[in-house]
Amino acid sequence: MITKQTITIVGASGSTGTAISSSLLRGNYRLLLCGSDLAEVQKVVDAVKRHIAAAEVEALDCTLDACWEADIIVLAVPFAEVQEVADRIREVVNQKVVISLASPQDNAHDAPATGVVAELQKLLPYAKAVRVSANPFTGSKPAEAFIAGDDAEALQTVSELVSTAGYRPVVAGAGTTDASATEGKV
């Protein structure tokens, strides 16, 4: 794609934010980073720009505005926080791809029984919910990233994004059964 896509990462502070931002900037993307502490998010922007001077990356304190500008939204927050974020951004993410990186394995206490995608889709009924879980333990190089969702076009978009980030995309099927994505049953 020639036209630069805008990706908003919600929960972009700390090492996770730096890692996601650095890997996505290998592609033709412009990044808007949001987090609860703007100073921390700005540190991520500064760190990324030290490595990639020409990177189009910016810290924004308004998640709603950042998601309004975005073509794709990445929720890099634990599942327990997804509902609160969804409530804030619902009106501006219609028809947009919204990716959750929440992992039921890592957050067993708050993991929904029906699967992250199904829950995210319920919270954002007119967005295209997708879940991505990276599995660095398969021994395969590059590491695999499992992708679950119901919208074929969104799965294609996210597969391209995951490839850009250096992972091998493995589409694990419909979102309602995305437990398989966690377990790597493909």
Partner: protein, 193 residues
């Protein structure tokens, strides 16, 4: 976010509150900053864009790297590379923002689903395309049969609000003149008043 879109829609085809809510679910709100691209030549155009706020232009770039503007879109207007949108072929136009803008995008899949399921959307689309066709006919007639001065006068009379918001060199491009020729015409017109 969708106020102007539905105001314009209702002028063409009145909707019930329920129909409006149904259509709203298919729309993508999008903010674009000044000078950012909505579409670049070579990509497949995946959207029809309605301008809620701001200004955009569509243009091609020739072998001498000259930009040829084919359309402006201000509040209430629609802009796209329709050929690319409908056929899936790569776009020949670039579309970018002349001002910070708020758009309502209709994706190809949303467009097709609404055509199938919402008859009033089909009527709205037909009226939009008919209007665009008439405007294009008028534009071709002006370009092939009017003098440079008439073309400029025609533009100012038809689109006074665009003339106030867009730089002169872009107006020159839109009416097929060099900036120097337009400057001479403007000088002549102002001295003649």
């Amino acid at each position: 976010m969708y106020e102007l879109f539905f105001e314009e829609f209702n002028k063409k085809v009145p909707l019930t509150a329920e129909e409006q809510e149904q259509i709203k679910h298919y729309l993508t709100p999008k903010k674009l900053r000044r000078k950012q691209y909505l579409l670049q030549e070579g990509d497949v155009c995946k959207f029809i864009a309605f301008v809620e706020k701001g200004a955009l232009r569509a243009y091609s770039v020739d072998e001498n790297f000259t930009e040829n503007i084919i359309q402006f879109a201000l509040e209430g207007w629609t802009i796209s590379d329709l050929y690319s949108f409908l056929t899936g072929e790569p776009a020949v136009y670039n579309i970018d923002a002349l001002e910070d803008s708020e758009l309502v995008l209709i994706s190809k899949s949303a467009h097709e689903e609404m055509l199938q399921t919402i008859p009033k959307y089909e009527t709205y689309t037909r009226l939009n395309i008919t209007g665009a066709y008439l405007a294009m006919q008028r534009r071709i007639t002006t370009i092939i049969s009017s003098t440079a001065e008439e073309r400029y006068q025609d533009f100012i009379n038809l689109y006074p609000h665009i003339a106030q918001r867009v730089p002169q060199h872009m107006i020159a491009s839109y009416i097929g003149l060099t900036p120097e020729t337009l400057s001479r015409i403007r000088k002549k017109l102002s001295s003649g008043r």
